[in-house]
């Protein structure tokens, strides 16, 4: 990917949209001053928009910020996975289409330190008003990570116990996820108490199971949760499993069509039930 060229195109479009008052706000990435990393740059100033960049460090999901700005006319720099998040928001009626201007990045080859990018099949924007960069000419090899599937159930149970034993319940995974937006998370619910706040393998395990159930049919497998985890826990594995189940059993992949009903909002009378008792 030619990040320089893409960054230039982004700057131009963002500047023009703000200067012409077509949008009130642009969500993009800027350079972190010291580390050389990227950071969200959300601005209403055309001048400031000229500081926007895009490179392989821009791992964060800017789409997460769309909900809080849902009332305004906003433009967003969106990686293909983020366009899916936006489509999923539209499907859940959380955004109004004509209030969002999508500047889609074409030919995405993934971001740094995100294992999900290796499983990604969506390399071009699903929905965009402007596109930047060049579409990929070759098929990119995408491979599901099935290493856990090959283990025995007992091994998997041990694996997750080990992983979740490190969880400090900072909820960074939750915060990083585009699809986590309940006004009150079940973790904070007292009546009833779905999961104890205390740390413990049982509680941590329960939390991650419940969180991934909430992602069922909604997770776009973007990997933001995994990137966000300070403990390096494999927090994506459970939701990614459900992503695969949804895709393989129901041919449903969220965030591809704003008109399509979400997985649990519809059914087919011939839906499979592979492990049910006959």
């Amino acid at each position: 990917m030619n990040y320089h060229k893409i960054s230039q195109e982004i700057k131009d479009i963002a500047f023009r949209l703000l200067a012409d008052k077509e949008v009130e706000l642009v969500l993009g990435f800027g350079k972190e001053k010291f580390s050389g990393q990227s950071t969200p740059l959300i601005t209403s100033s055309p001048e400031k928009a000229r500081e926007m960049i895009f490179d392989e460090n821009c791992a964060m999901m800017l789409a997460n910020y769309l909900r809080e700005h849902a009332g305004k006319k906003v433009a967003i720099i969106a990686k293909p996975c983020e366009t899916r998040a936006i489509v999923a928001y539209l499907a859940e009626d959380l955004l109004v289409r004509d209030r969002v201007t999508i500047i889609g990045i074409q030919g995405c080859t993934g971001v740094k330190d995100n294992t999900a990018c290796q499983e990604c099949t969506v390399r071009e924007p699903v929905l965009a008003d402007y596109t930047v960069g060049e579409p990929l000419t070759d098929e990119v090899e995408a491979q599901d990570d099935l290493s856990l599937e090959e283990m025995s159930p007992q091994e998997r149970l041990e694996y997750f116990r080990e992983e979740f034993s490190r969880c400090i319940r900072c909820y960074a995974c939750r915060e990083a996820c585009y699809a986590c937006y309940c006004p009150v998370c079940f973790t904070d619910s007292n009546r009833p108490r779905w999961v104890e706040e205390t740390l413990g393998i049982n509680e941590n395990f329960t939390f991650h199971l419940m969180r991934s159930l909430h992602m069922a049919g909604r997770c776009i497998n973007c990997g933001a949760c995994e990137v966000a985890c300070p403990e390096g826990i494999d927090v994506r594995a459970l939701a990614a499993k459900l992503y695969r189940v949804s895709r393989d059993l129901y041919s449903f992949e969220p965030g591809m069509d704003p008109e399509e009903k979400t997985l649990f909002a519809t059914y087919d009378s011939e839906d499979p039930q592979p492990r049910f008792i006959d």
Partner: protein
């Protein structure tokens, strides 16, 4: 003295079909193992998978969910929606390492009293095979004990 393992299985049954089937097994005096504890719900569509996780967290050795056969739902289509959620739940928990034998889902009509008894028998046998559920942490339930009563309104 060693005791044989008698699992507790929580069965979530819809009011209109499977709960009626369980009643029919009763009035027909069809015998089955006592290990099942029934939670009556109006429809299999009422079942939030969180409730099933909580059942395992409470200490159930296995769960059984059964509603009206697809197409027979008293509320027209509750079981169709339920099916997707239950399938996803089942796949997730098996992936997380919970033995498949503990996670039982089926449909059973109000006329299938005998079948209900057979299902229970089968499920109990399966769960006995995999042994007690020791929780996601593997520590068993003996340490928890007592009454975990949530604060009242």
């Amino acid at each position: 003295m060693a005791k044989t393992f008698e699992p507790k299985i929580i069965a979530f049954l819809c009011n209109w079909c499977t709960y009626a089937a369980a009643d029919l097994a009763g009035s027909s005096r069809i015998q089955y193992p006592h290990n099942v504890r029934v939670v009556r719900v109006p429809c299999s569509g009422r079942i939030d998978p969180f409730l099933l996780i909580k059942a395992l967290n409470s200490g159930a050795d296995g769960i059984l969910v059964s509603g009206c056969h697809p197409g027979d739902c008293h509320y027209l289509n509750g079981n169709y929606y339920a099916r997707r959620r239950l399938v996803m739940f089942q796949e997730l928990l098996i992936f997380a390492g919970v033995e498949e034998e503990r996670l039982n889902f089926t449909w059973c009509s109000a006329a299938e009293g005998k079948r209900f008894a057979e299902i229970v028998e089968d499920v109990v046998e399966q769960v006995k095979k995999v042994g007690p559920w020791k929780g996601f942490d593997g520590r068993g339930f003996q340490e928890k004990g007592g009454m975990v009563l949530h604060e009242l309104s």
